[in-house]
């Protein structure tokens, strides 16, 4: 308990690594079913999307609870979304395709669902490299504009998810509903309160 109060951020960093460790355990015990490579893809993609949703939930949560200083967590979750998206991409390139570039090239060109994944990854990548505080300061107002792309990236990630499925659309639909609510909240709150824009900027930058 003491530890949690002293180092909540460290604890969060550790907790966010659990999905990866869990995946290692499932790989070690052959728990990923008949098509383990696809299961791995979906798990990593899922976690990236979950962290994106958590990132997007921080500001509404802050508005509702009037808590402050959550921007660091928003940054942390965003970086974890990038982390899991990168593992997802590496899985595709290395574990699924063994870096056979001709297969990979054809696959990307011929698969529209992957185009959405590429868009989502570039957005998350751009947000991750501009996430350090000093970059944020140097970018000024354009930082906020750039980071609003997170909604585009998340939408692209959701399309990437359900655009590759033949049947079971339940899970991507769930993400779509979550994003719809989070975005809806931001739009409504933006209309009712100009204060929200101020709260989007982390402490020390106001």
């Amino acid at each position: 308990m003491n530890f949690q109060i002293k180092n909540p951020k460290l604890v969060t960093i550790a907790v966010c690594l659990i999905p990866m460790l869990w995946l290692f355990v499932d790989i070690a015990f052959d728990n990923l079913g008949s098509n383990p490579i696809q299961a791995l893809h979906i798990r990593l993609g899922d976690w990236s999307l979950r962290f994106l949703c958590m990132t997007l939930a921080i500001t509404p949560l802050q508005t509702m609870t009037k808590w402050r200083g959550m921007a660091d967590y928003r940054q942390m979750f965003g970086l974890y979304a990038f982390f899991y998206a990168t593992l997802h991409l590496l899985t595709y390139l290395a574990i699924d395709n063994n870096f056979e570039w001709s297969l990979i090239g054809t696959d990307i060109i011929e698969s529209p669902y992957i185009w959405f994944g590429v868009v989502a990854y570039w957005v998350v990548f751009a947000l991750a490299i501009t996430s350090p505080k000093w970059v944020m300061k140097r970018m000024g107002k354009s930082w906020k504009k750039l980071h609003r792309l997170v909604y585009i990236g998340t939408m692209a990630a959701i399309i990437h998810y359900f655009w590759q499925l033949k049947g079971n659309l339940a899970e991507p639909l769930l993400y779509l509903i979550i994003i719809f609510f989070l975005l809806g909240f931001r739009v409504l709150a933006g209309l009712t309160s100009r204060q929200l824009n101020k709260m989007m900027i982390p402490k020390g930058h106001e």
Partner: protein, 317 residues
């Protein structure tokens, strides 16, 4: 000092060995009868068929190594039960496969409804190792047990007006949750072939796999296997085969006509609108193994390409 605690069994009470053995035989016979009475066919409770004398087939890809059976049993698209690939293993266990009858009707001289056992008595079961390629870009190698569909259709004597064959899956909403709740597709599931495709020797009706009866989730008791077409053409749990003048409207084609065509021939050059069909993940292959380059007609081009000689496969996908 030896204390005798009980008397030896008197010889009169020891069962004569011959009588003992006779009793055993009798008990065994009674058991067999009892089992036979509750499971009159080979498919009940997935019991191993008693006498499958499997013939070898020239149509079998004996060079291919079958995918481990557990992977094949636990990765099925059986939307009548569930939209995922794992849960049908369990959900299908309540499915009733016995008794089973098959209706053959339409443009035939001899229409009728037959018990599956009677149909099988007229067929020689063969084992055929085929590659099975799903439209979702994964594949597996399965040793099916069955016979050429042509051998059955010939018995019904198709008329010259029979240009297409329509297959229908059973409607069994009491055991199939997604039929009961009208989930996603129009039930029952319907598939179709052109008559020359149906009469092709590679096209088979399967009743088993891996030397055993078909597991319920894999399409028991009777399914179609068309190895040069995407897996969704290989309809499961068939109760009706109709020979028709015109092409039937098939389930996936009806549900998403831009994505799933009537022909559905495996073709790496014709992408699905949302994903490439150029390569496939082979079930059972390890991490860091490349995907397999998909072959035209799933590698059966030599046998079937002539069926599509003058057709634009991009248009007739």
């Amino acid at each position: 000092m030896i204390i005798k605690t009980h008397k030896d069994i008197p010889s009169s009470e020891i069962t004569d060995k011959k009588v003992f053995n006779e009793r055993r035989t009798l008990i065994k016979a009674m058991l067999v009868t009892a089992v036979g009475a509750t499971m009159p066919s080979a498919w009940a409770n997935n019991a191993k068929p008693n006498a499958w004398d499997l013939a070898k087939s020239d149509l079998s890809n004996t060079a291919l190594t079958p995918t481990p059976i557990e992977l094949v049993k636990n990765y099925t698209n059986y939307y009548e039960f569930t939209l995922n690939k794992e849960d049908s293993t369990k959900l299908a266990q309540n499915f009733i496969v016995d008794p089973w009858s098959l209706e053959i009707s339409g443009e035939v001289e001899k229409a009728g409804t037959y018990h599956l056992e009677d149909i099988l008595q007229l067929q020689t079961l063969e084992e055929r190792i085929y590659r099975f390629r799903c439209v979702e870009a994964w594949s597996m190698v399965v040793p099916w047990v069955g016979f050429s569909l042509a051998n059955l259709l010939k018995l019904a004597k198709p008329l010259s007006t029979a240009h297409f064959v329509k297959f229908t899956t059973i409607q069994q909403p009491e055991t199939m949750p997604n039929q009961r709740n009208n989930v996603m597709l129009d039930w029952p599931y319907i598939e179709g072939l052109r008559i020359d495709e149906a009469m092709h020797p590679l096209t088979m009706l399967a009743v088993g796999m891996y030397g055993d009866a078909l597991p319920k989730q894999n399409g028991a008791p009777l399914r179609l296997v068309v190895p040069w077409k995407y897996g969704f053409k290989s309809i499961k749990a068939i109760v009706k085969i109709e020979l028709l003048k015109a092409p039937p409207l098939t389930t996936w084609n009806k549900s998403a006509p831009a994505e799933y065509g009537f022909y559905a021939n495996v073709n790496p050059a014709v992408s699905h609108p949302r994903w490439s069909q150029n390569s496939e993940r082979q079930l059972g292959s390890g991490f860091f193994t490349s995907r397999r380059q998909t072959e035209l007609f799933n590698g059966y081009g030599e046998q079937v390409a002539s069926l599509y000689q003058d057709m634009d496969l991009r248009h007739f996908f």
